[in-house]
């Protein structure tokens, strides 16, 4: 593009807009963080400049960890996210591999159906699902969400993996077939080991989606002992009209950290998945 810009033009065209978007994106997290370290005397005092921290304290964190079930919720959230991500990757591969590699009647229709299911938003299904889960006697069990999260994650992983699988060259599989490997062996021992980046992308996405899920967890999990972090924070840190803002912010920050850490390790895979999922199917 055009080169040789002056420093002022660079500020106007680059740093000003980028800085604006950065402040906009990060301010709520900054606010979350400093609020969680403020003592109540500072939090609810209108005469103190609110944007900085004057007397940091860990009180809200200590209260959150000792007086609420936050650690249980965190454990539940992790367990549900890991198990439903694993289920979704396995079932997703089972859908995506034949669609990417085999020729059979109906393949096009199945691929379209998977894409369509991936786009069905939860609010269309939650009422009948709630009734179904009740009839199965799964209310207030983690099984309820471990079973229902993959309804969003399987089509999603299948779609993302399908896109990735198509970019993997076929020669190795053909060689394995000529050497006498069965289709299953070819898939498991030759093909799947080549697809680790695709699995990481789909896995990160599925993991963040399950950490983010709220509606099913809200409906199916009404006991403290089985709640996930988003539902626990909303249902139990807001007691009636009383808001424990310090604890709420501490909980929101701690609840965001696992996702943020995992994301920070795999940003490139995440971005690859983000663009693959929407740009090219």
């Amino acid at each position: 593009m055009v080169t040789g810009r002056g420093p002022i033009e660079r500020v106007v065209r680059l740093w000003l807009p980028v800085g604006f978007f950065l402040v906009l994106a990060l301010f709520p997290f900054y606010w979350m963080a400093i609020t969680s370290f403020k003592p109540n005397s500072e939090l609810y005092n209108r005469h103190v400049m609110p944007l900085v921290l004057h007397h940091p304290t860990l009180k809200h964190y200590i209260d959150l960890l000792t007086q609420t079930s936050f650690l249980t919720w965190t454990w539940n959230t992790m367990l549900v996210a890991v198990v439903s991500t694993a289920i979704s990757l396995v079932l997703g591969v089972m859908l995506a591999y034949p669609l990417a590699r085999m020729r059979f009647a109906g393949a096009g229709l199945i691929a379209m159906t998977v894409a369509a299911i991936y786009l069905v938003p939860q609010p269309l299904l939650f009422i009948p699902l709630a009734d179904l889960i009740n009839r199965l006697g799964l209310g207030n069990t983690l099984t309820a969400v471990i079973l229902t999260y993959p309804t969003m994650l399987v089509p999603f992983s299948a779609w993302l993996l399908l896109g990735y699988f198509k970019t993997v060259p076929m020669e190795l599989e053909e060689a394995a077939r000529i050497d006498g490997a069965s289709r299953l062996q070819t898939m498991r021992r030759i093909f799947l080991p080549l697809c680790t980046p695709g699995f990481i992308s789909a896995g990160i996405f599925a993991f963040t989606l399950s950490q983010n899920e709220f509606l099913y967890a809200l409906i199916f999990l009404t006991k403290t002992s089985v709640r996930t972090v988003p539902v626990g924070v909303i249902a139990e840190l807001i007691r009636g009209d009383v808001f424990y803002w310090g604890q709420l912010m501490a909980g929101a920050l701690l609840g965001s950290i696992p996702v943020a850490i995992i994301y920070s390790f795999f940003v490139e895979h995440y971005v690859a998945g983000l663009t693959a999922g929407s740009v090219k199917g």
Binding site: M1, L14, P17, V18, F21, A25, P28, F29, W31, M32, T35, L43, P50, M94, P98, M102, R103, F104, G108, A111, A115, A116, I117, L119, V120, P121, Q122, P123, L124, F126, I127, P128, L129, A130, D131, T148, V154, A158, G180, S182, R183, F214, L215, L218, V229, P230, I234, W245, L248, M249, G251, G255, S256, A260, Y263, V271, L274, T275, S278, V279
Partner: protein, 309 residues
């Protein structure tokens, strides 16, 4: 180049007879057997609830009671319910305005980021944070930013001359709608921005050079080179975003619960209130299903487009 005399693999195919193994090795048999478990799973937990939801919408069905078939009565009830029409209008406004803001803002973000500068990858990672962090948790932070008594936003507004105590963001019907639209935009903008950035990076620099040589201005390069090439990605991202904004639940449920006076009630939150709050599963299902025609149209459009793309 080497000539192999022996198979590398130990698992040679059995020869000489038509075995189960060779039947299983047919493309169609292998494919359908492989796909059967995920397809059955989706049929049981998506297909069945979907059909059951349609049945529920035709029933009078209080929670914990058997349903009785009432035909289209629930839909008629909705038709005569002023709140229902308010909800329809809210959902439309919310989706349209938030989508437009995300599209324009996302494009601006992508254009700003499509330059060379130090720490670019770090900046990109940070910009995506609103999209990564669980919505409920970031919405709680926004709730505190907009708090009636201790809003930091109002603290700043008062500082620049707005009369004390500043606007009641979540208590005023119009400002509450402005708030949920703003937060939805805040959360969804990085998705647009980063996806469009990926699209921008695929535009060949030669095209810009050619346009510059032909005397095109910056705006003309954007209008006649960038936009046409980005158009397919913009369309896909927008369809995605419209589907999930239209059916949004968690942001509104957490921030306003649909209030004040249903001013921010959307289809999803209203269906939730009727089905889970009031215990009317049939009526709630009929409200949720009202989203179906619009959603079906969008989903079919996007599915066809993705297949072609």
């Amino acid at each position: 180049m080497t000539l192999r005399s022996e198979p590398v693999f130990a698992f040679a195919r059995p020869r000489g007879r038509v075995s189960i193994g060779s039947w299983l090795d047919r493309q169609s048999v292998f494919s359908w057997l492989m796909m059967a478990p995920p397809l059955l799973f989706l049929a049981a937990l998506v297909g069945y609830p979907f059909c059951y939801g349609i049945l529920l919408s035709l029933q009078y069905r209080p929670v914990a009671h058997p349903g009785t078939f009432v035909g289209l009565k629930n839909f008629a009830t909705n038709f005569h319910d002023p709140i229902f029409w308010r909800v329809a209008l809210n959902t439309f406004v919310y989706t349209a305005v938030a989508t437009l803001l995300k599209m324009v803002g996302g494009l601006a973000l992508a254009l700003a980021m499509n330059q060379q500068f130090p720490l670019k990858n770090l900046v990109r990672a940070l910009l995506l944070l609103p999209f990564i962090v669980p919505t409920v948790l970031s919405t709680v932070a926004w709730m505190w930013i907009l708090d009636p008594a201790f809003s930091v936003l109002n603290w700043v507004l008062v500082l620049v001359g707005v009369p004390k105590p500043g606007p009641s963001w979540l208590g005023n019907p119009i400002l509450a709608m402005v708030s949920i639209i703003a937060i939805n935009t805040w959360r969804g903008l990085p998705f647009y921005g980063i996806t469009l950035l990926a699209g921008l990076q695929t535009v060949p620099p030669e095209l810009y050079e050619a346009a510059t040589i032909d005397g095109a201005s910056g705006w003309q390069r954007f209008r006649y080179v960038t936009l046409p090439l980005l158009q397919p990605i913009i369309l896909i991202v927008t369809l995605f975003s419209v589907i999930f904004t239209f059916a949004d639940f968690q942001l509104v449920y957490v921030l306003t619960h649909g209030g004040p006076q249903n001013a921010t009630q959307l289809f999803a939150t209203y269906a939730f209130d009727i089905a889970m709050g009031a215990g009317q599963l049939g009526l709630g299902a009929s409200i949720a299903l009202t989203m179906l025609p619009a959603l079906a149209l969008l989903i079919v459009a996007l599915t066809i487009y993705l297949r072609r793309g």
